[in-house]
Symmetry: C2
């Protein structure tokens, strides 16, 4: 966490950011022996979690192994208080303790998280009601215009240098890539995603596009460069916009691309295409009717809209730790909630594609690069931050691998539009990915 | 209506089938001059309908033209009572009067219906509440196991010879075809639909498939012939099953295809694929949770399910005339209601494709062939029946052209299935339609 960001967070008076980051890095270690009831608690905890193949190593070196299981991972609990946090609120404490270095992991972190997710998910079906309440998840915080700025600032304004360390070198895409072939590089797959989206929008030279939430502006520049369209891209992350504008200027695309520092709710005008990649997660359910109305008035009669978002198979609250520490205000809609946005605007849904496993692969590529550069990340921020982000990336890989999260690309038009593509063949006539990138 | 079917309907004691068919074909013609308030009523009616470019010709030869419009169609009202029926319940009476020959049309019937749909739809936005209530549509009747038999019998047991007059000669498909190219014949497009569905299910030789509602069994035979899979197909239309079994025997596919005369709710076993083409419209919203549970238990862990159904952009009641005269119990789900089926089963939606305009084209092809053979249809049934079916086909063309109806193909799997296709490229490597058919 940069000094600058930390101050901002104090000024807003919210405990949103770094509660975990204020825990002492060197946790209260004790050499005392664990009590018998502490061993009993751990055994109980592991049974609740479906008895995954995980060894528990306690602060004094003692180990507790699961019965009849080949052990694949080990968790080191560094102090007794860590144990009590874990028991009181496992969902939140697991990430916090790991971030603080009071819980350590032996074994591959994404694999461990996937194993835990599967095990807990299966075990939960059998939990009594009171225990399910313990696994408390968050209702996301508000995403009103003022709060949205804070929420977005918390995550996306961490610094472009930071994101450059581990995102693709091609277009700084911080959203799911499209691995039309499993052996694509991250760069190829991100460019393939941009191309796939452009094809779905059936862009033609001279068309106009509005983009809600543009990250570092890669899609807008890609559209301008490869399709000769005019793009208005809205974003409330100032850091991202600085980068986006500089790139457009350097690439001499600024006559086609305009980056607007404003909330998507203030989009003006009518366009041939409406596109939003990875913003819906931050919109909040209470704002879906307004988003739907916005798209309705922003899209020309024959226009095409595409929303790309993390989603769910059915409505679920956001993981508490992620909402609290990583993505304040985030809520991935279920496929039904997603369709409500379309129904409210009397839109006609043309195409839904689910790229769930593509996001698991994207995140694996990000995690590899993040790990390669983690010393540099720790220098920029601190060790807490690095560990929290490792947990976030690993947990996300696990969530997509286990189907707890989905990635939906939804294409729709006004209900009365008859200028529809004959089929989806045109998306697949040539590879979407460049041969090299 | 065959004598046999008419009797059945009397036995069930429902007025479902042929109320319209009992109206006198030669309507009570009168030569009296229309009253001034009758002219006023017609003018009022046309304004309510958004002033479409339609001339009204009355029973005595008088005409009433819309103001400032180039007239494209004419409606002949044959008797004063027809006018009062139309005013009292336009939604239902329009089809009934046309069927009875008491309302006649000059101009292309599908074009007239499309024009009327668009005009009424636009005008409705301005209607007062009480007027909207006049346009009463139906809550569909029950689709319990007993009633479903009646509902299906009413429509699908009209006689195979009848459907052979105007469905494709390839596989007797009474569902939306897939025009991957706009110039395909009906036969090519229906075979392309079967192929497209098989590709979406990623069938491989030796797999097992269960089909809920199989019509004349064409998909099951196609799957067996081209993909070497074993298919169990459920249907409650006896007439269709007679044909389906005979075809499978003749084509020596009966070792791979088994047609089961039973309700889909009684499906047993677990399969690699679950498919249902054009049955969901008849399932009824109250049975979606049961359908969802059925698919959940019938699909192997790595299996793929596909539902193909007429749908809506948002929830709407069924057109009253269609529900009453043509498809008792029918209800096309909105895209959101469709997704509820997937959410209830914790399924992961992989792919949604909307083939709305393909259904308009399919229906146009059907209507052309129906019109060519209408004398024969009238001989088989009677003139009333032929006119009712013309109205149904024309109205359906209009509904798909104007976006009042959609056609969704939805592919989904169990939420934990990670054996997913890398992309949808494999659907498009070669044309789905045969070069000739």
């Amino acid at each position: 966490m940069t000094q600058n960001t930390a101050q901002k967070t104090e000024q807003t008076g919210r405990e949103s950011t770094p509660h975990v980051l204020t825990l002492p890095l060197e946790a209260a270690q004790t050499d005392r022996n664990p009590h018998n009831y502490e061993r009993w608690l751990i055994a109980k905890l592991m049974r609740m979690a479906g008895s995954p193949p995980i060894r528990f190593q306690l602060w004094n070196g003692d180990v507790i192994d699961p019965k009849d299981q080949e052990i694949r991972f080990a968790l080191h609990l560094k102090d007794p208080k860590a144990l009590y946090s874990l028991v009181a609120n496992p969902n939140l404490a697991f990430g916090d303790l790991y971030s603080a270095g009071r819980l350590d992991v032996e074994g591959d972190l994404p694999d461990l998280m996937e194993t835990l997710y599967r095990s807990v998910h299966a075990a939960r079906q059998e939990w009594p009601k009171w225990l399910d309440a313990l696994w408390r998840n968050h209702n996301p915080r508000s995403t009103g215009i003022t709060e949205a700025k804070e929420n977005i600032h918390h995550h996306y304004d961490l610094g472009n240098e930071f994101y450059q360390l581990w995102l693709d070198q091609a277009e700084m895409q911080y959203t799911c890539a499209y691995y039309e072939r499993p052996d694509l590089t991250l760069e190829q797959a991100q460019l393939a995603k941009l191309e796939h989206v452009c094809r779905k929008l059936r862009l033609k030279p001279g068309m106009t596009v509005v983009e809600a939430g543009c990250g570092w502006g890669g899609l807008a520049r890609y559209m301008a460069r490869h399709y000769g369209v005019k793009v208005h891209s809205y974003n409330i992350s100032r850091e991202q916009l600085v980068y986006a504008r500089e790139q457009a200027r350097q690439q001499q695309l600024d006559h086609l691309v305009e980056y607007v520092e404003d909330d998507y709710r203030n989009i003006k005008g009518q366009y041939d295409a409406f596109v939003s990649i990875g913003m819906l997660e931050h919109v909040g359910k209470e704002n879906y009717p307004a988003l739907s109305a916005l798209i309705k008035r922003s899209l020309k009669p024959d226009g095409i809209a595409l929303l790309h978002s993390i989603g769910r198979n059915r409505p679920m609250l956001m993981n508490a730790w992620i909402e609290k520490r990583i993505f304040p205000g985030a809520y991935p809609p279920s496929i039904g909630e997603f369709m409500e946005i379309c129904e409210q605007g009397d839109f006609s849904v043309l195409d839904v594609e689910n790229l769930r496993l593509h996001y698991a692969q994207t995140l694996s590529h990000w995690m590899d690069r993040f790990t390669e550069n983690q010393d540099q990340v720790s220098e920029m921020y601190d060790e807490h931050f690095t560990r929290a982000w490792r947990m976030y990336l690993a947990g996300s890989i696990a969530a997509f691998r286990t189907g707890s999260l989905q990635l939906f690309q939804v294409v729709f038009t006004h209900g009365a539009n008859n200028q529809l593509p004959q089929s989806r063949q045109d998306l697949y006539t040539t590879p979407a990915a460049p041969e090299q990138a």
